[in-house]
């Protein structure tokens, strides 16, 4: 029964390809604004319809995850990715498939006279296209998740620049939340830069860190200890009044670490330690 249903459906897909594509596109144009602008729309529709026909001919219409449907899935994935990149909503992406459903239904109504057969074929079309519609949503979602993962990766790298302020003075301006993954990157890039430059003083600036709790304090202390082992002294700067009070209440011991309120103060201390000084030019004013 299922075999003959899919044979019948395949027949319609072959014989009425032209009408199907035309009707499908008309449906798309009227419902989705982003599809209307796509010049390759006719191409995409024809391609998908042909690979759909191949898959239906195999009779495996219960499970679209099988090898028979590989080409259909491949085509849909490409289309969804392009749509998602162009900023289409999940709804617009799924409508691409569901618009075909309407076209197929009307073709079936015209071609199949026997009510029982029509019902069976309608059910078949409905099942297959619902599955394909859900598949487009999955692909769309996956594409979005990849974008998010990539952005997280980019943020990780962007937020940890170690800058050289003077011959042997480095500064590490920290920004945002110091969760452990980022702290690891921060620590590595600081230690690496100490090796590269032979710096003797590193200033860790926490002006851009909104919350300093015990975990952040612990990460800072570990960074300071590691830098010290490599022969560099650390100064922690950017300790705002509210942060200072909070650290005291928490009971975190920062007594072994030189701390300053601003990066400028810390830089002045670092210069003094390295024997350099900044003076105003005599000709000024």
């Amino acid at each position: 029964m299922a075999q003959t249903d899919s044979q019948g459906l395949a027949k319609i897909l072959i014989e009425q390809e032209q009408q199907l594509v035309a009707e499908w596109m008309a449906n798309l144009m009227s419902t989705s604004s982003s599809a209307a602008g796509d010049v390759r729309l006719a191409d995409q529709c024809t391609h998908l319809l042909r690979s759909l026909r191949q898959a239906v001919l195999t009779g495996q219409t219960r499970n679209i995850q099988g090898g028979e449907w590989a080409e259909v899935r491949q085509l849909l994935t490409e289309i969804c990715y392009t749509r998602a990149r162009q900023g289409a909503t999940p709804r617009e992406t799924a409508i691409f498939v569901f618009a075909l459903k309407q076209a197929l239904f009307s073709r079936l109504r015209e071609s199949v006279a026997d009510p029982a057969l029509l019902a069976a074929q309608t059910l078949l079309v409905s099942n297959v296209l619902d599955e394909l519609g859900l598949f487009t949503i999955e692909v769309y979602q996956k594409g979005r998740e990849e974008v998010i993962a990539r952005q997280q990766q980019e943020m990780l790298e962007l937020s940890t620049p170690v800058v050289q302020l003077w011959d042997d003075i480095l500064a590490l301006p920290l920004i945002g939340t110091l969760d452990s993954a980022r702290t690891q990157v921060v620590m590595e890039s600081l230690l690496q830069k100490i090796v590269e430059t032979g710096a003797s003083i590193a200033i860790v600036d926490i002006t851009g860190v909104p919350t300093v709790d015990t975990l952040v304090a612990q990460h800072l202390l570990k960074t300071v200890a590691a830098a010290r082992l490599m022969g560099a002294d650390c100064i922690i700067s950017g300790i705002r009044p509210q942060i200072a009070q909070t650290i005291v209440h928490l009971g975190v011991d920062l007594e072994d670490v030189v701390t300053k309120a601003t990066l400028a103060d810390a830089f002045a201390v670092a210069l003094r330690k390295s024997g350099a000084a900044i003076t105003r030019a005599a000709t000024a004013r």
Partner: protein, 148 residues
């Protein structure tokens, strides 16, 4: 086991004017809770120091919930007592519980790899703390009142 300390700054009936529940499952959830708590503290016009204190206390307890309590929920409530406004944070988990609360409150003691200052720090950063713990889970709530 129940432990409750802190100065009772006000007596009378406390009414909860608003409550929000923030799920705590991962360290990203801790960041989100901090944002929620900061928003509420700003809305109550807490001073910058008090905002920072209550956000930091929330951060400590939320991380404990995630790490030691194997995840749970944070209930953020706005309180009103007479004309006084406050913020209560309740952290609930179904974890193994705290074996020895007195010991856990002690500075420098940790059963994990932290500094061992979180619980004691949270107590010092807030006006009062209440801990109810047992083998079926732990509930810790802290309150911070606006001074005037």
């Amino acid at each position: 086991m129940v432990l409750s300390t802190g100065v009772v700054l006000s007596t009378g009936t406390i009414t909860i004017t608003e409550e929000r529940v923030v799920p705590l499952r991962s360290s990203e959830d801790v960041v989100r809770l901090r944002q929620v708590v900061r928003e509420q503290a700003v809305a109550l016009k807490f001073s910058l120091v008090d905002q920072t204190k209550v956000v930091t206390a929330a951060s400590e307890l939320a991380r404990n919930t995630v790490i030691y309590g194997k995840g749970g929920d944070a209930h953020v409530s706005l309180l009103l007592n007479g004309g006084k406004h406050g913020l209560r944070l309740r952290f609930v988990d179904q974890g193994p519980g705290i074996a020895d609360v007195e010991l856990a409150m002690k500075d420098g003691y940790t059963s994990g790899g932290g500094l061992g200052l979180g619980l004691g720090g949270a107590k010092r950063l807030s006006d009062d703390i209440k801990i109810v713990t047992g083998p079926a889970g732990t509930s810790i709530s802290i309150t911070k009142w606006k001074p005037f």
